[in-house]
Symmetry: C2
Subunit: 351 residues, 2 copies
């Protein structure tokens, strides 16, 4: 475990797509969505623990979620929980964490990871991360992880890779030609047919110099704010000054702000069973079903019912009859019943 | 309002058929099922209030429900709430109330009514009751109310009436030929086709001498127990002795114990819009629907949804999409979703 390896877990998501299980009060990353006994955040932490020490693990989240993070990851020092006063997408989040880490270790190598994704083959994942960390330790490269697409998914961004241009130092890592936003179905089909396209998993690996330099060049307004706080990090004034910086920053993703503009972007194509669990359908596809195709959790009696996801509050006696392909989610003060094929209605709900 | 008129409301039902809205903790008669702001018990009391004084109104219920009755009917003297130590069907309930009333007024005329039925035309109902009370004041007759059937209902008992044999004193009241238990569908169809058959609404009118004599003859084991307590009613020992009597009584309905055996049974056929609200379908048929055929109560957003009954807890945000002909009931620690046509599954649920 290299002492220079750092992990930044982005845990600020507000959990709108898996409503009502996930909610702004308790979003997806803090839930045990898979029934493993651990939250997605905890699974994320565990996945990296053989590679990165808890003292080098940073969690960026909103002020409101900091106590939940502290409770769920007691090994992470409380000072490593970075509090965002408001959501500004991933670029300010990564800038804050990068300069904070740089202030402590200018030679740090960093993995940036979402907190709420699923990875099935953890060993394969760890090999990819270890290799990537070594790779960025030795070069000023930005490495993204590309997932081999298994279907023409329109909910993900794609990375177009030049598979003829592998790196000299690692033949598994390739130069990126372009990033593509979420496509329509027809375009997604052409991507899947073309072996050069990969899902953008939102996992990035770089050394701290590379990312701060890239931010300086491509996002100077953001980088200046966090660079100017170098003498403030670790002092009493940090939170107050960071809050000011956030308010002043535009809300922009690291993809838009840096990756799509920068050179020297690489992709490590991999297949370790990945999902962003960004929809009920995705959760359905990644959880076990009974022989009727139901994914049930709780005290559920399902009669003449198939292909359903049912999630309800502990202690609730649930009887469901005559449903096929429905989502039934009950939590605290909300109840959702809808067709799995129509879960898009969740977005339209005025919560 | 004749001082001799008494009302016995039977309010001991345990509410299994409208689960989970209705439950053993808070059964149907205590619920505002119709959204009128009053429980079915309160509506029952109100319906009789122009005819019978609160002081002459008796409510027979279980020990556990007595506080609910007292809260919902504050005008009824607490001593008029008769507590059953356990459910023994309607014969012991009516025997207890009859001897209790007889101990106070041997000239009483009594209406016995369920607490959880719906009556739409209250004025027409009151005329029928007033006429029946007058009728039994002047004769030793048992009067039952027969509802003109509007469909071949298999959930009700039927009264076969000799429409050629109206009473001399009242041409609207007829001699009963026979009582018939809940029929199968084919039989129900023949009943509906034959104008001599009426639904048994479970509402009885008699004077106290008539019913106690009938009980003495046809149900001597029950009647002896409650007759032997004549000197005990109104004393400190009443509850204890009544409890002993109940334990010793067999569980039997007044229909089986008396009506099917007795002579001089009359029926007052009527049409004032009656339902026993004994099923979700019955409730659906008797509540207002929106233009999509939905009967919704609570904070419900219904999308692409029709012909559904939805009842949920106050304060619960409910979103339902893509359901046709379903029942969705959420209450405290229970949630039921089933096809309205298959509500019979409720009986099979291990609660």
């Amino acid at each position: 475990m290299a002492a220079d390896n750092h992990l930044v877990i982005m845990a600020g998501g507000v959990g709108s797509r898996l409503w009502p299980l996930s909610s702004p009060q308790f979003p997806k990353q803090f839930l045990d969505l898979l029934g493993s006994g651990k939250s997605l955040l905890q699974l994320t932490f565990d996945r990296f623990s053989p590679l990165i020490e808890p003292a080098n693990t940073w969690v960026v989240t909103s002020e409101a979620y900091a106590p939940i993070v502290h409770e769920q990851l007691p090994l992470v020092p409380e000072g490593n929980i970075l509090r965002e006063p408001l959501a500004r997408n991933t670029a300010p989040c990564i800038a804050y964490a990068s300069w904070k880490i740089k202030s402590l270790n200018p030679k740090a190598n960093i993995v940036v990871s979402p907190s709420d994704h699923l990875i099935l083959d953890v060993e394969a994942f760890q090999k990819v991360i270890a290799t990537s960390l070594k790779f960025v330790d030795e070069s000023d490269s930005i490495v993204t992880l590309g997932m081999k697409p298994t279907r023409p998914e329109t909910g993900y961004g794609y990375i177009q890779v030049d598979l003829s241009a592998s790196c000299l130092r690692n033949k598994n890592i390739f130069r990126v030609d372009a990033f593509h936003e979420k496509p329509d179905l027809e375009t997604a089909k052409t991507y899947v047919a073309d072996s050069n396209y990969f899902w953008n998993a939102g996992i990035f690996v770089w050394n701290v110099s590379t990312i701060v330099n890239a931010l300086r060049i491509y996002a100077p307004e953001i980088s200046q704010r966090f660079e100017s706080l170098l003498s403030i990090y670790g002092t009493q004034a940090e939170q107050q000054e960071v809050n000011k910086a956030y308010v002043a920053c535009e809300s922009i993703s690291i993809d838009y702000a840096v990756l799509e503009k920068a050179d020297e972007i690489f992709c490590y194509p991999a297949s370790f069973g990945w999902s962003d669990l960004g929809s009920w359908r995705a959760l359905y596809d990644n959880t076990e079903h009974d022989r009727f195709g139901n994914s049930l959790r709780g005290d559920v009696t399902a009669i003449d019912t198939q292909n359903c996801i049912i999630r309800t509050t502990e202690g609730k006696k649930v009887v469901v009859q005559g449903l096929d392909g429905y989502l039934v989610v009950e939590k605290e003060n909300a109840l959702l019943i809808c067709k799995l094929t129509d879960e898009g209605i969740i977005k339209t709900i005025d919560r």
